[in-house]
Amino acid sequence: MLRREQNELLTQTGPGTVMGNFFRAYWMPALLASELPENDCPPVRVKLLGERLLAVRDTNGEYGLIDEFCAHRGVSLWFGRVEDGGIRCPYHGWKYDVSGQCTEVPSEPAANGFCKRIKLTGYKLVKIGDVLWTYMGPPDSEPPLPEWEFATVPAAQSFTSKRLQESNWLQAMEGGIDSSHVTFLHGRNLETDPLFHGAKGNDYNRADTAPVFEVAESPGGLWIGVRRNAEEGNYYWRITPWVMPSFTMIPPRADHPVHGHFWIPIDDETCWAWSYDYHPTRALTDTERRAMEEGKGVHVAYVPGTFRPAANKDNDYLIDRAGQKAGLTYSGVEGIAMQDASLQESMGPIVDRTKENLVGTDNGIIMARNRLLRAARAHAEKGAVPPGVDPAHQRIRSAALILPPDQPYTEAAKEALIVRPGVRQTSV
């Protein structure tokens, strides 16, 4: 459990809040690069950390994320005309560049320089991999650009998707570091999902239903290790990194691409669940890419034209009670992502953590909250640079491996847990 004020501190990310300022210390995924496919394309409305913004790609290919509303009388610039190196409000023709600077107010004589005094809030938007990243913090504290491996490998090796999740970011992220639910909720999918099946590691998962957990601090967050029995007294370890504020990477299975998530608050009651899938050393096969596009693995199928999952709370996530009874899935909901999302959304928009009853296997979650609270306070009170901002904290990997019983995974798997260009993931 958390006390009410701790729960509020961690879940509120609007402007001026402690956690909101904390998120604003990082480069965050804002939208898919494919949402702004060409110069002068239609702008995209983006809400992040409780701020309504507009993503623009101008005539010269420059990107920017600006206040959605015109400084004149508050019209949404989403209706605007993207032309001649900026976006023009369709109401009275005021024009802005991608930084939010007003460059033209047609009703005023150009000579009086009125437009120079008008500036919309604007944040940088940078394309790395399939993603447009933004930094919404103070300009003088801007950190180095992100170096997550999934975003820096060649395009043919990576696939990224996002889906709308109708819950607070924290309960979504906690699901991502809660390894103990996998055996139950996703157990069957390990066998049936094309992006998971056939790994030797799946056998250990099935055979040993009493996994043992080991959590250790890392410079950027945590290592969450789960071990199960393997042959000859050895252990099968699955090691999940969590990097602040909300990045996780699921341990690999066989030579399948490796996947993981970011959870980015839209506002306090919704978030973007970002899902990436990549292979460090080879191109994704056509079959793999097709499976990802069709919503297999950690991805989902959408309501056409939106990022809302086709199975959502308005249709009871298409729950199949007969399938639940027959054991085709554990919860009756199809697909790993929606199995998670349906349950996390069912907790309510912001779960009341004063009522929960945690157990020993929840230590990963307890420790993540503890580290977030400490880091967010240090950032607020002393201006400390948060863990995870340093690109070195981002050059990490998850791993699955067999180790002798007397070897600590953080040391024995040291090499496996960092990015080694040209070396494939460590997997069983």
Binding site: M1, K313, D314, N315, G348, D352, L358, G360, N363, P405
Partner: protein
Amino acid sequence: MQTESARMASAREAAFRVPYPNSRPRSAHLVALDRACEPFVTHLLRDHPGRLALKLAALPDPVAAATALIAALDGTDLLVMISTSGEDSPAASLIAEACHLRRLPVTVFVLDTPERATELPERLRHLRPYAQMLVRAADPDYVEDMLTALRV
């Protein structure tokens, strides 16, 4: 279309969650495995009647004390072993064995300071088999947070 799920997961309906304490207070046994962590365990006991502690290193006959603790385990919800050095003791393995037989979950907390980062992992191999959950953290306050989170 608005289904039950959509309505029940709304902010409005979240306000109607039944307000009652859905668990009874829990109790935990804290076992200090070495001298260095004893003051810290003493600190954890303050104002918490649900927490009982055993300081093995301070006792003339730790094995006898461990046996007595085992006899008193009924009604305990959680056993937490706390260590700074990662060293093993016969008394600790006795307790761990007894917990295992009773299916009482054991959490081992190891204070993981950077100075001892090299020898500690090696020593942990003694403690590893005892724990359902092993936590290595640099901040001793974490144990207080963990106990609070677990409602003990």
